[in-house]
């Protein structure tokens, strides 16, 4: 996809984006209620605790919801593309593109794994692809 604009990280999200430089998917974790905090913040919106840490994620998950853009020219693109919400095995939900497959293969419930697209500043953008076989 052309010209991915990703803004500078917030203070809370900086560790997430730093890890992407090594193609590592990390999640902010609340050690009080033992659940991921997505998106990263200065406190846990679930238990309101402030004991926050970072954990490595498996990069595996399942498509929770999906749409294929059939009018890509409306978005400055040339090819159909899929936007999905992925539920990671660790419990966090991320928006991403599902890449490396045909529009007809985009299904809710499909198992997926993370893949990466380099950004100009050395960070990498997490995307997902189907787990096949």
């Amino acid at each position: 996809m052309s010209d991915r604009a990703v803004p500078d990280p917030s203070p809370a999200s900086a560790p997430f984006w730093e890890a992407t430089r090594d193609r590592r998917l990390v999640l902010q974790w609340c050690t009080d209620c033992d659940q991921p905090v997505q998106y990263p913040r200065s406190f846990c919106p679930r238990c309101h605790g402030s004991c926050l840490d970072w954990r490595e994620a498996s990069g595996q998950g399942v498509v929770h919801a999906a749409t294929v853009e059939h009018r890509p020219e409306r978005m400055g693109e040339t090819e159909h593309y899929a936007v999905v919400l992925v539920d990671l095995d660790e419990g966090a939900r991320l928006m991403a593109n599902l890449v490396g497959c045909e529009p007809g293969e985009v299904h809710v419930g499909a198992p997926v794994q993370v893949t990466w697209e380099p950004l100009e500043d050395g960070r990498q953008l997490p995307l997902f692809e189907l787990r096949r076989g």
């Binding site: 409306r74 978005m75 593309y81």
Partner: protein
């Protein structure tokens, strides 16, 4: 703490502007002012009576333009549901004696603006913007994309079909056939909806609301004062609001909107059940939006919205008249459609709707949806007989 606004305030004046061409001659403050004056005229009031202003961008700027010095001011913006929220706030203010006559207004002319190259600038949100970081890189088209994601999940969990979503567009168009001011009035079929170009799957072009110019206003005052005014008052029986996310990736459950909170709360305050509702004005930005309202407001069970929408149940002559003006799908949709829900609810209660009038309508629900299924606000209005 429980509270009740039931019967404290009433909508006494309404106005709206739209056109079968989708375009209006006036725009901006001029158009807003026309709406306010028309709604006040409808009520038999004047600008000198107004002591409360609601405006979804800037009540201060608009009051300055009008030359009004309000003691109640509300610039709440929850997207398309802003005007139901304004109605709730206005009723609360009137009930508390903070204001006597409150006006809410809306105007937008996206169709003419585009045609004439008008641009008014946009202000970016302050500080780090989570959407720019976590959603915008993935090019989800707004506003349709989030609704497409919700529809995909509803289909996966409940087996809802594109045909069932299409039924909502078809039934709504049948109401528009009865409204000479509607943008689109030619009958459509389920097949037409499915054959219209796919936009963001699973939503087709005819699953989407229009983009038109449009404007409107309402005037609210105390129930006591309402009785001495020109038109039959539409009393606020219940009002409630809830929002549970801003970004679609943060929505707790893609198949249940915060209307499942605001709807029952407003109905409880009003002392009504879904079966008592004569007319439902349920914000139809997309067919899936209206389907979710049917479930979350309790007209059917969760997951049953698709089946409920079949057989013209929400069409003229059906058991639940829904979006009798033709809705955002066929009447008008300038961007924040919630104002038109209120205007139509009031006109139905007054019996002013001509060919589309629902016989004996005495309870009308205006259910606004704002942003991306983010903020729902439910307003239950009733005639004198329902007090």
């Amino acid at each position: 703490m429980s509270r009740s606004l039931r019967g404290a305030a009433a909508i006494v004046g309404v106005a709206d502007a739209c056109s079968p061409t989708g375009e209006l001659e006036h725009f901006g403050r001029d158009l807003e002012t026309r709406m306010v004056l028309e709604a006040l005229e409808d009520a038999g009031l004047g600008l000198a009576d107004v002591d409360g202003i609601c405006h979804a961008q800037s009540a201060m700027s608009f009051a300055e333009y009008l030359g009004v010095h309000p003691r109640f001011t509300d610039s709440t913006n929850t997207g398309g549901s802003s005007f139901e929220v304004h109605a709730e706030h206005a009723a609360a203010a009137i009930a508390a004696g903070v204001a006597d006559v409150v006006v809410s207004v809306y105007a937008a002319t996206p169709r003419s603006d585009r045609k004439q190259g008008r641009s008014f600038g946009r202000v970016p949100p302050p500080g780090p913007n989570p959407a720019a970081e976590w959603e915008w890189p993935y090019r989800l088209r707004m506003p349709i994309g989030p609704y497409a994601l919700a529809a995909s999940r509803h289909m996966y969990e409940y087996g809802t079909t594109s045909e069932q979503l299409a039924e909502i567009a078809v039934s709504t168009r049948r109401w528009a056939e009865l409204n000479p001011r509607a943008r689109f009035r030619d009958p459509i079929t389920v097949e037409d909806v499915l054959a219209s170009p796919m936009q963001c799957s699973p939503l087709h072009l005819l699953d989407c609301c229009l983009v038109t110019d449009g404007a409107g206003a309402f005037v609210m005052t105390s129930a006591e004062r309402a009785r001495s005014l020109r038109k039959q008052p539409s009393y606020v029986l219940g009002a409630a609001t809830c929002h549970d996310h801003m970004m679609i990736s943060q929505m707790p459950d893609l198949t249940t909107t915060p209307g499942a909170v605001s709807g029952p709360a407003a109905f409880e305050m009003a002392g009504v059940k879904p079966d008592d509702v004569s007319v439902l004005l349920g914000y139809d930005s997309f067919t899936i939006t209206a389907l979710l309202h049917l479930e979350d407001l309790g007209f059917c069970g969760k997951g049953e919205g698709g089946a409920f929408a079949e057989e013209g149940r929400t069409a003229p002559g059906g058991q639940l008249p829904m979006n009798t003006n033709g809705g955002g799908l066929s009447y008008t949709h300038p961007g924040m459609y919630g104002m038109f829900l209120i205007v139509e609810a009031v006109r139905q209660l007054r019996g002013e709707c001509g060919a589309r009038q629902v016989e004996g309508a005495d309870i009308a629900v205006a259910h606004g949806s704002g942003m991306v299924l983010s903020c729902m606000s439910t307003l239950v209005l009733g005639s004198e007989a329902t007090l």
